[in-house]
C-alpha cells in the first residue's frame, strides 16, 4: 500500500458535471473515526454514507483497529437498517448530518432504540446545522469534510 493513492470524489453532489477523483495517500487512516470507535468500545458498526464517497475501505480499517465488525447499509434501505439495529445489535452508526436526522427519526417512529454511538460527517457547507433532537442523550462525534472522505483540518 506504500505510495498508493486512494481517490475520493471532488464533490458531495454525485451529479456535479465536474466531479473527479481527488487523490489521498491510501495508508492515511481515518484517525478521528478510529479514535472514536476505540474510545466507545464499539463492536458493531453500521456504515450509511453513500458508496460513491469511497469511504468503505477507510471505515473498514477503523473497524479493524477497534475490533469491530462492519455492516454496510444502503442509505435508501432504512427498513433493513432498522432490522440490523434490532437483530445484530448495531452500537455505532457512521453517517452524514442529513441521514443522521432522517434515520434516527425513522428508528424512533419504528419503536427501535437509537444506537448509543454516532459518528457524523458534516459537509463544510452544513457545519452549522444543529444535531437532530432524536440524538439527545447518545454519544456523538462530528467531523467536517471539505469533500467526501477529506476531513477539514482541525483547529
Amino acid at each position: 500500500m506504500q505510495g498508493m493513492k486512494r481517490l475520493f470524489p471532488s464533490s458531495f453532489n454525485p451529479n456535479d458535471p465536474a466531479l473527479h477523483g481527488v487523490p489521498r495517500a491510501a495508508q492515511e487512516e481515518w484517525s478521528a473515526l478510529e479514535h472514536a470507535l476505540i474510545s466507545w468500545g464499539a463492536k458493531r458498526i453500521m456504515l450509511r454514507l453513500p458508496l460513491f464517497w469511497q469511504v468503505e475501505i477507510p471505515v473498514f480499517r477503523a473497524c479493524r483497529a477497534s475490533g469491530a465488525f462492519l455492516f454496510t447499509n444502503d442509505v435508501r434501505n432504512m427498513p433493513l437498517g432498522k432490522y440490523a439495529v434490532r437483530a445484530i445489535g448495531i452500537d455505532t452508526v457512521v453517517t452524514d448530518i442529513d441521514d443522521a436526522s432522517e434515520f434516527s427519526a425513522f428508528l424512533l417512529r419504528e419503536d427501535t432504540p437509537v444506537p448509543p454511538h454516532w459518528f457524523i460527517v458534516r459537509p463544510a457547507h452544513r457545519a452549522g446545522t444543529p444535531l437532530p433532537r432524536e440524538l439527545a442523550g447518545v454519544a456523538v462525534e462530528e467531523e467536517v469534510h471539505l469533500s467526501p472522505g477529506i476531513p477539514a483540518p482541525r483547529v
Binding site: 481517490l7 454525485p14 477523483g21 462492519l70 433493513l80 432490522y83 437483530a87
Partner: protein
C-alpha cells in the same frame, strides 16, 4: 472438492460441547460431539435451511465474537422469509482469478460478490492497487472516479453492467477493461453480446455465491463466459463438500451426468470461520454436466435457477428456464433469449389444464402464431414429450407468444412467473 472424511471432521468440530449450541440443538447432540463415519450416517443428518438460521439471532449462531467477524452481510429478503444477517470472515479460495487477470491496476467493485476492502487485500499481492467502490445509485459518479483511478477490472452484479457499460462508453473506457466478474444471475446472450461489444478486451467470469455461504463462491468457474453456452459451468472448491438432493424429498442423488437436483453445501474454510455450514439447502437447482471435470477432477455443474421458482412441474415433465433459453437460441435470428413466461392453471371439466404465455423480445417482425408453434415443437418437458405433443394429447393448452414491453431491465425477465389458478 472437500472429501467426505473432511466433511465428517467439520461435523465433529461444529458440534463440540465447548462451541455454540446451534448444531447440537439441531441434531439433538447430548455427548461431547457428534461423529459419523459412513455415508449413510451423514445422509441421515437433517438438512439445514434458511428457516433454521432465521430462528436464531446471529450472536447465537456465530462461532466468533464480534471482533473476530470481518463484516456482516444481509440476505435480500426477497424470498419473503425476512432478511438474514450472516457473519463473514475474509473470502478464501479465489486464487483461480489469477489465471485470468494480473490485478495490477485498480478495480471497480460493488459490495457483492466481495467487499471492496477484500478486493484491495486480494490485490496487495499484485503491488497493491486500490478498489473503487461502485455505487448503483450513482453510476456516473462511480465511473468517473474509476476513470481517474485508471481501473481495468470490474466486480459487480450482472444487472449493474448495463449502467456501468453506458457510463464507461461516455468516458471512453470500454477498451481498457480486461476483467469482468459478475454475480447474481446467469449472463444472457443479449447481455453477453452487449459486453463483448462494449468491453472487447475483457475476460468475463461468472461468480456463483450466496449470502448464507461465508466461504463464497460456492462453485469455481470452470472457464470464462464465451456466449456459446447458455449457462455457466462450475466445480466445487477444496473447502466445500457438495451434494445434490431431490428438492421434494431431500433424498441424496448420485452426481451422474445429467442428474438434476437442489444443491446442498457443507462449507468450512478453516479458521477463522464465523459459521461452519453443514448440509445447507441453497435453494438452487443444478444439473451435473460431467462426473469428472477434465480440468478440475470433481463433478462439474451448471445452475438452472431457484428451486420452486425457475422451473415448474407439468403433467409428464418439467418446464425449465434453461430449456426455454435453449429453444429461443434456436431462433436467434428472430428473437433474443430474454423472456418472461407466465403459467396459468385453468379448471376444465376434464380437470386442471396448464396454459403458458411466453413473452419474447423480437429482433425483427415475427409472426407470433407461427413462432409459438415452432417453439412448441422444440420445447421439451421431458426427454420424450414436447409441449406440442402434450397439446396434441390434450394435456396442455397451446402456447401463446407475445412481445415483451421494453423497459431496459435485464433482471426481471428471463424467468417463469406463476399466475393464480383461475
Amino acid at each position: 472438492m472437500m472429501s467426505s472424511s473432511r466433511a465428517y471432521e467439520v461435523l465433529r468440530h461444529a458440534t463440540e460441547a465447548s462451541g455454540p449450541d446451534f448444531y447440537r440443538k439441531l441434531y439433538g447432540v447430548r455427548g461431547e460431539r457428534l461423529s459419523v463415519s459412513s455415508r449413510e450416517e451423514w445422509e441421515a443428518l437433517p438438512l439445514l435451511t434458511k428457516e433454521h438460521l432465521l430462528e436464531r439471532p446471529m450472536s447465537d449462531r456465530s462461532f466468533l465474537p464480534p471482533e473476530g467477524i470481518d463484516h456482516v452481510r444481509a440476505t435480500s429478503g426477497t424470498s419473503g422469509r425476512g432478511a438474514l444477517f450472516c457473519p463473514r470472515t475474509p473470502l478464501r479460495g479465489m486464487d483461480y482469478r489469477l489465471a485470468y487477470h494480473d490485478f495490477k491496476r485498480p478495480m471497480l467493485a460493488f459490495t457483492v460478490p466481495a467487499m471492496p476492502h477484500w478486493h484491495e487485500s486480494f490485490m496487495e499481492r499484485s503491488g497493491g492497487p486500490t478498489a473503487v467502490v461502485y455505487d448503483p445509485g450513482n453510476p456516473d459518479a462511480s465511473v468517473r472516479i474509476a476513470r481517474d483511478a485508471d481501473v481495468d477490472s470490474i466486480s459487480v452484479f450482472a444487472f449493474h453492467m448495463l449502467a456501468i457499460g453506458e457510463s464507461m462508453k461516455r468516458e471512453g473506457m470500454g477498451g481498457r477493461i480486461r476483467f469482468i466478474e459478475m454475480a447474481g444471475e446467469a449472463c444472457t446472450r443479449k447481455l453477453f453480446e452487449y459486453l463483448r461489444e462494449t468491453f472487447p478486451n475483457a475476460v468475463i467470469l461468472p461468480f456463483y455465491g450466496s449470502s448464507e455461504v461465508e466461504d463464497s463462491p460456492i462453485g469455481m468457474p470452470c472457464r470464462p463466459i464465451t456466449g456459446e453456452e447458455p449457462l455457466s459451468l462450475y466445480h466445487g472448491k477444496e473447502s466445500h463438500y457438495l451434494e445434490i438432493v431431490d428438492p421434494d424429498t431431500g433424498k441424496v442423488l448420485e452426481p451422474q451426468e445429467g442428474a438434476e437436483g437442489e444443491l446442498v453445501i457443507t462449507a468450512y474454510p478453516g479458521e477463522p470461520c464465523a459459521f461452519p455450514l453443514l448440509r445447507f439447502r441453497t435453494g438452487d437447482m443444478v444439473r451435473v454436466i460431467s462426473e469428472k471435470c477434465p480440468a478440475h477432477g470433481s463433478w462439474s455443474f451448471t445452475v438452472l435457477g431457484r428451486s420452486g421458482l425457475d422451473f415448474i412441474k407439468v403433467p409428464g415433465g418439467v418446464v425449465r428456464s434453461d430449456e426455454i433459453e435453449r429453444v429461443l437460441r434456436l431462433f436467434g435470428d428472430e428473437v433474443t433469449d430474454v423472456y418472461s413466461l407466465s403459467v396459468e392453471e385453468r379448471q376444465t371439466a376434464q380437470g386442471p389444464r396448464l396454459a403458458l404465455r411466453l413473452l419474447v423480445e423480437p429482433k425483427r417482425p415475427v409472426r407470433l402464431e407461427k413462432f409459438a408453434e415452432a417453439v412448441s415443437r422444440e420445447m421439451r418437458v421431458s426427454p420424450h414429450l414436447t409441449w406440442a405433443k402434450g397439446v396434441e394429447e390434450g394435456r396442455f393448452d397451446p402456447l401463446v407468444v407475445g412481445v415483451l414491453e421494453p423497459d431496459g431491465g435485464q433482471k426481471k425477465h428471463r424467468r417463469i412467473v406463476r399466475a393464480p389458478a383461475v
